[in-house]
Structures are given as structure tokens and as C-alpha cells.
């Protein structure tokens, strides 16, 4: 128990390193590393000199879960389902593509459970969307793999652990994995979501969807999609692809393997590790945020690091079209900018500036190395690694979801500086910092500091 408490403290209070090595130093890497200190204790396994013979050792598993939210229809999304397609995350990796057949030999199988597990049991929100017709907020949870829908006016009281969503879409049938890029159809409330690194699809749920339900529509997309935007006038859905970087545009109702109407892609576009996107249908403009990691995978040694940027194109741009303008340079404060949102009436484009712990706003007409006109940042804001942003033009609010503390906050659309939100929806206790795992595929052990290094 002492060891578990030590680890709990380590996770809560220290050793959360979310490193970004870009921008000013001109070096970038699309990874964050979280370091977890591991205290030594007397509960370690006995040192048994077994040589090549097996021996079962009984060891108590010491889970480090922080607790769990209580939802009415809590689903275990991790339960294996043999009926799911091979590409589904909940089956992916379970059976390896090139593993040999089951052993028929005499190797020794060890059935002991893990001695420790690091896992976050609260949501980790990657994206947010606002439904102004039905007064709801949708949040994409990339830890429990679902979408949680809250009343727009929800405001978690102090002392309450977490607000309860009005609906939760979660479970094996949903195909929700490490999704991102939420969009809500302003007419019928349909929820759009893209799978950013695993399932390579765009999925759509009806507004009423709840529980472990299959999406009403799926569209196969290129690998590494990230953000969505929809031109409701023309009935087109835009999706950014991180790498090889491009913007693909489909019919809004496209499904299955339907091909895009057009693709913006090529060396003249200035796209490099494309992430967030927003469109202004009034001004016929498309904005894309780029992290700056660049290479041609077909050419060895062609990798380069560029400064992060926002590139601006005509709304109907396709092919290898250069940007109309590029916002780029040290004054911009771009710092792993994730989602984007447009306030067309005010003429601002807002960025969820992940590692800046800020929302930064540029004028739609900005160009070059310019400072943001608006910066929401500081202790009063409650922002922690914000990756989702949405504009509610009807109620003149700016919504932000924070990956780092399982929350979403509403600010006045005119907010600037270190200002408190008008409302905050929390899905975890106040002041709690998320573990921030995001598909940890690797791990290293720092023996000097007794820390785990976990890239995400």
C-alpha cells in the first residue's frame, strides 16, 4: 500500500513531463514523453535463480487506478469481441499480423498478474463541439474511448467530483478509438468524429445515439486524419491528414470507400504535419495548422523541421496549390496548436494551443510573423493542455476542452488575457492533472531516476 501511495503521489504531483522540442529551437518531434517515478519497495518479486526452469511466483497486483466515474450505463470498452473487424482497435494488436501459430512446444507460461499498472480512469478529452440548436456540448474521450454529451449550461459545482453527461456513446460497437475532430451538424445534431491514428475513418452518429451503438455511417479515409470542418452550403466535409500531409474533401454524405471530391496536397502547399483546420464559408477561406515536421517518405534523408504555421487557402483549393498567406514565426506563439475554430463575425481564427496552455486568436487577415491578437492564458483560465476549441456564435461563447484536466470551459467570445471561464464542465476532480496517455506504444526505463519514459 505504501508503494501504491508513493506512485499515486508521483502521478498526481510530479514527474509529468510533456516535452515539446520545437519552434524556437527549430527542432520538432511529434511526441510527448511522460515520466513516472517508480519507488522501490519490499514488495518486489523474490530474486530467484531459476536458470532456464520456470517457477510460478504469487504476487499481488497493485493497481494504480484513481477511481472511476459512475455512469448509468458504464460499459467495459476493453472486453474483447471476436465479431469485430480486424482493423478495430479493440481487436487490433491482440492477434499479431505475422505471429506464428500457437506453440505446441514445452515453453513455460507464467500467469502472474502485473505488479503495477499505470492507467487513467477518467476521460481525456481531445476535441469539443457545440450544438447550439439543442444546447449541448459533445466531448471526445480518448482514454475511455467514447463521446460524452453534456447540457451546454452545465457548470460543475465546487466539491462535486464530476458532472454527469446526459448521454454517453461508448463501447465496442461504436468504433470510437483515439478519435478527434468532432463536428455537430447544425440542422439535425449528427455527430461527426475522425479516428486520428488507428481506424482511418470518419464516423457519424445520430444526435440521439447513446450507449454501445454502431455509427450510422462510416467513411474510409487516409491514415492519420485529425480535424474536420463542414461547408454546409455546399455539403462538403473537409478532413486534415497529418502525414503525408493533405486536406481531403468529400461529399458530406459520403460513406464506405467513396473517394474525395478533391485533395490539397504537394510541396507547394506548405502543409507539414497538418493538424487543425477551420473554414470560413463567408470569406471562402480554409485555415490549416501545421506542426512543421516534414519529409518525403519516398526520399531517404529528406526530413526537415519547419516552424509551426497556419496556412490559408481558397476554400476550393486542390492539388499543389500554394497558400494565400502563412502565419509563421516566433511571434506567433504557436505551440503544438491542435483544433481551430472560426468566429466569422469577429474575423478571428482561434487555436487550441496545447503546450502553450492557451487559446490564441489571430485575425483572419494576418500574415507572416505576427503576434496573436487574443491570448487566453493564465491561472484563472483553468486551461491545461487545451486541444479542442469551438465557437458558439449564437450565444457568443468560446468553448475549450483541456486534455490535461478532463474539462471543458466556456469563455465569452471576446475573452482575452487571464480570465476565468463563465462555466466549466469537469469530468474529474478539480485540480487533478490527467495522466495524459495517448496511445503509448513504447516505453523506456530511466534507471538513474527510476522513472518510466512514456511517449504518446
Amino acid at each position: 500500500m505504501k508503494r501504491m501511495e508513493a506512485l499515486r503521489q508521483a502521478m498526481l504531483e510530479r514527474s509529468l513531463m510533456r516535452g515539446r522540442f520545437d519552434r524556437r529551437a527549430m527542432f520538432g518531434v511529434a511526441v510527448t514523453i511522460v515520466a513516472f517515478s517508480i519507488s522501490s519497495s519490499n514488495t518486489r518479486a523474490p530474486d530467484i535463480a531459476t536458470g532456464y526452469s520456470g517457477r510460478l511466483i504469487s504476487i499481488q497486483s497493485m493497481q494504480t487506478d484513481f477511481g472511476d466515474m459512475c455512469y448509468a450505463e458504464r460499459i467495459d470498452p476493453f472486453e474483447r469481441n471476436a465479431a469485430l473487424p480486424a482493423g478495430n482497435l479493440f481487436n487490433a494488436f491482440d492477434d499479431t499480423a505475422h505471429a506464428a501459430a500457437q506453440s505446441t512446444g514445452n515453453g513455460v507460461e507464467i500467469a502472474r498478474p502485473p505488479v503495477r499498472t499505470i492507467r487513467d480512469t477518467y476521460p481525456i478529452y481531445s476535441s469539443i463541439a457545440v450544438d447550439t440548436q439543442f444546447n449541448e456540448i459533445a466531448l471526445q474521450d480518448t482514454n475511455l474511448f467514447g463521446i460524452k454529451v453534456f447540457n451546454r449550461l452545465e457548470n460543475t459545482p465546487a466539491g462535486v467530483e464530476a458532472s454527469k453527461p446526459v448521454r454517453v456513446i461508448e463501447g465496442r460497437e461504436t468504433d470510437l478509438e483515439y478519435n478527434n475532430g468532432l463536428y455537430i451538424d447544425p440542422q439535425n445534431g449528427d455527430i461527426y468524429s475522425v479516428a486520428s491514428d488507428t481506424a482511418d475513418n470518419l464516423i457519424v452518429f445520430p444526435r440521439s445515439a447513446s450507449g454501445n451503438v454502431a455509427p450510422s455511417r462510416q467513411l474510409k479515409t487516409p491514415h492519420r486524419n485529425f480535424a474536420t470542418a463542414v461547408d454546409e452550403e455546399k455539403g462538403e466535409v473537409f478532413i486534415t491528414i497529418q502525414y503525408p500531409p493533405k486536406v481531403v474533401v468529400y461529399r458530406k454524405q459520403a460513406a464506405g470507400t467513396e473517394q474525395p471530391l478533391r485533395v490539397l496536397e504537394g510541396p507547394r502547399t506548405g502543409l507539414s504535419d497538418a493538424h487543425g483546420m477551420a473554414i470560413d464559408v463567408q470569406k471562402k477561406l480554409m485555415f490549416v495548422s501545421n506542426w512543421g515536421n516534414s519529409s518525403d517518405y519516398q526520399v531517404a534523408g529528406s526530413g526537415q523541421f519547419h516552424l509551426p504555421s497556419i496556412t490559408v487557402y481558397p476554400l476550393d483549393a486542390k492539388g499543389d496549390t500554394p497558400p494565400l498567406r502563412t502565419i509563421q514565426g516566433p511571434k506567433t506563439q504557436l505551440d503544438w496548436a491542435a483544433a481551430m475554430a472560426i468566429d466569422p463575425d469577429g474575423g478571428y481564427v482561434f487555436m487550441a494551443n496545447d503546450l502553450g496552455d492557451s487559446i490564441i486568436g489571430f485575425k483572419e487577415t494576418d500574415d507572416g510573423d505576427v503576434a496573436p491578437s487574443r491570448i487566453i492564458k493564465g491561472d484563472k483560465t483553468g486551461l491545461k493542455n487545451p486541444t479542442g476549441v469551438a465557437v458558439d456564435g449564437k450565444n457568443k461563447e468560446l468553448w475549450v476542452s483541456s486534455l490535461g484536466n478532463s474539462s471543458a470551459s466556456a469563455f465569452p467570445l471576446s475573452a482575452n488575457g487571464d480570465v476565468a471561464p463563465v462555466r466549466t464542465i469537469r469530468s474529474a476532480p478539480a485540480a487533478r492533472t490527467s495522466v495524459k496517455f495517448g496511445k503509448p506504444q513504447a516505453v523506456a526505463y530511466d534507471s538513474k531516476r527510476e522513472e518510466y519514459l512514456v511517449p504518446n
Binding site: V29, T96, A100, T104, Y297, S447
Partner: protein, 241 residues
């Protein structure tokens, strides 16, 4: 990103930059927005990712100070840890004699055993061969189009899996991901169609599949991530240390 390493000798962290065809080396205590101390990147490096996985695999030998990077599906590049900038690799292991193949999504997996001077490459089956994956064991300094010293391959071996290969040096075990979402340990002198010496059926025990693997020899533990379940688990495995 699917690989990183810690160098306890020089107190450094080695990281792939998946989309910019680079290797970054940071101080061991790096924190926040700290730039790397060295960057290996440029046309002479030959670093090349794939469209699907990018440049996302790596192994590190802290005894000899060398970085091993599988690229272009069937090449293993070796760099000095001191390399910086646009520098050529020290060695390039590739060619039909090596038997190294990439997967449908990306590169072969690589591990290194600096004590027994071995380079271990997990190579998927040739398409349509039905042979299953192979674990190819080379001399650590193998260069060019050379044959492996030995091959572990066959239906009993369970070779394969989504995890990077590693080497447990004290007792001469190779620890890596294997079939049925497990982690297995083979002996460095094993060859042919032999079962793993030890196996932890991670999926069966925990309900989640393993992804990455790291070894903690001092505490005789194996650390396992689950990329598709967002967690890190630690198994005591004194038998392999």
C-alpha cells in the same frame, strides 16, 4: 511514435522523430521545451520512414554507444550516439542474404544484446509463404548483405508480435512480443522451430494487448505498454534476468 531509449551510461534519451526522418538525443533530465543536444538528420543519414508508420523504430546499445534504426522496411542503419547532423551511418545491414523484411505497415523490429554482441531483428513472413515471422540473430556489428548467425522460425516459436525486440543480457534471453498478444523469452542460442523458454500471456492475464517493452534489470521487471488500451503495466520476471 513507437520507440525510444534511455542511455544510463551517458544519461541521455534517444527518440525517433517519426515524420521528419530524424533521431533526437536529449539530456536524461530534459523537461519541457528543451531542445535536443544532438540531431541526426539529412540526406547522408539514409533515414527513411514509411507512409504509414514513418521513422518509428529504434534500439540502443549503451555499452558501445550505438543507435540502430530499421528504415525503408528492410535496412538496419547503425549510428554512433555521438553522431550529429547530416552524417552517414556507421553500418548498413541489408540485402537478400539478411532475410530482413518489413511488415505491411512498416519496418522490421530491432533489438541489441551488447553483452553477447548480438543484433536481433524480427522479420515478418514473406507474403504468401505461410512461414510465419522469423527472429534473425546477427553479429552486433554485421554490415552489408550478410546472413544471420541463426534463425528462430517455425510454428512452435510464436515469433512475431507488435513489440520491439529487446535483450535480457544477464542470462542470455531475448525478450520480445510474441503471438496471442503475449511477451516471450527465447535463449540467444536458440535456433530453428523451438518454443519460447518463457511466456507471459499479457492479453489473457490483463485483458489488454502489449505494445512496447522495456527492461528493468535492477528490479528484474519488464515494463509493457498497451497502446490500444492506454496503460503501462509492470511484470515481475526474475527468471529472465
Amino acid at each position: 511514435m513507437h520507440a525510444l531509449a534511455y542511455d544510463s551510461v551517458h544519461d541521455e534519451i534517444i527518440v525517433n522523430s517519426p515524420l521528419a526522418q530524424a533521431i533526437l538525443i536529449f539530456r536524461g533530465g530534459a523537461n519541457g521545451e528543451e531542445p535536443p543536444v544532438r540531431v541526426i538528420q539529412g540526406p547522408r543519414t539514409q533515414i527513411q520512414g514509411t507512409d504509414y508508420d514513418g521513422n518509428d523504430q529504434m534500439a540502443y546499445d549503451e555499452v558501445h554507444g550505438e543507435i540502430y534504426i530499421p528504415v525503408d522496411r528492410n535496412k538496419i542503419l547503425t549510428f554512433s550516439r555521438e553522431a550529429n547532423g547530416d552524417v552517414p551511418p556507421l553500418r548498413v545491414l541489408t540485402g537478400p542474404n539478411t532475410g530482413i523484411r518489413g511488415s505491411t505497415r512498416g519496418h522490421a523490429r530491432v533489438g541489441v544484446d551488447p553483452v553477447h554482441n548480438l543484433l536481433i531483428v524480427t522479420s515478418p513472413a514473406a507474403p504468401g509463404s505461410g512461414d510465419g515471422a522469423s527472429m534473425l540473430i546477427f553479429d552486433r556489428t554485421a554490415n552489408g548483405n550478410v546472413k544471420p548467425k541463426s534463425i528462430i522460425n517455425g510454428p512452435k516459436t510464436e515469433v512475431g508480435g507488435g513489440s520491439a525486440a529487446h535483450a535480457a543480457t544477464d542470462k542470455g534471453f531475448i525478450v520480445a512480443g510474441c503471438g496471442a498478444a503475449s511477451i516471450c523469452a527465447w535463449g540467444i542460442n536458440d535456433k530453428g522451430n523451438v518454443p519460447p523458454r518463457w511466456k507471459i500471456p499479457v492479453q489473457q492475464i490483463t485483458g489488454v494487448a502489449p505494445s512496447g517493452i522495456a527492461l528493468d534489470p535492477a528490479h528484474k521487471e519488464v515494463i509493457v505498454t498497451s497502446g490500444n488500451r492506454n496503460r503501462v503495466m509492470t511484470f515481475s520476471w526474475p527468471e529472465v534476468f
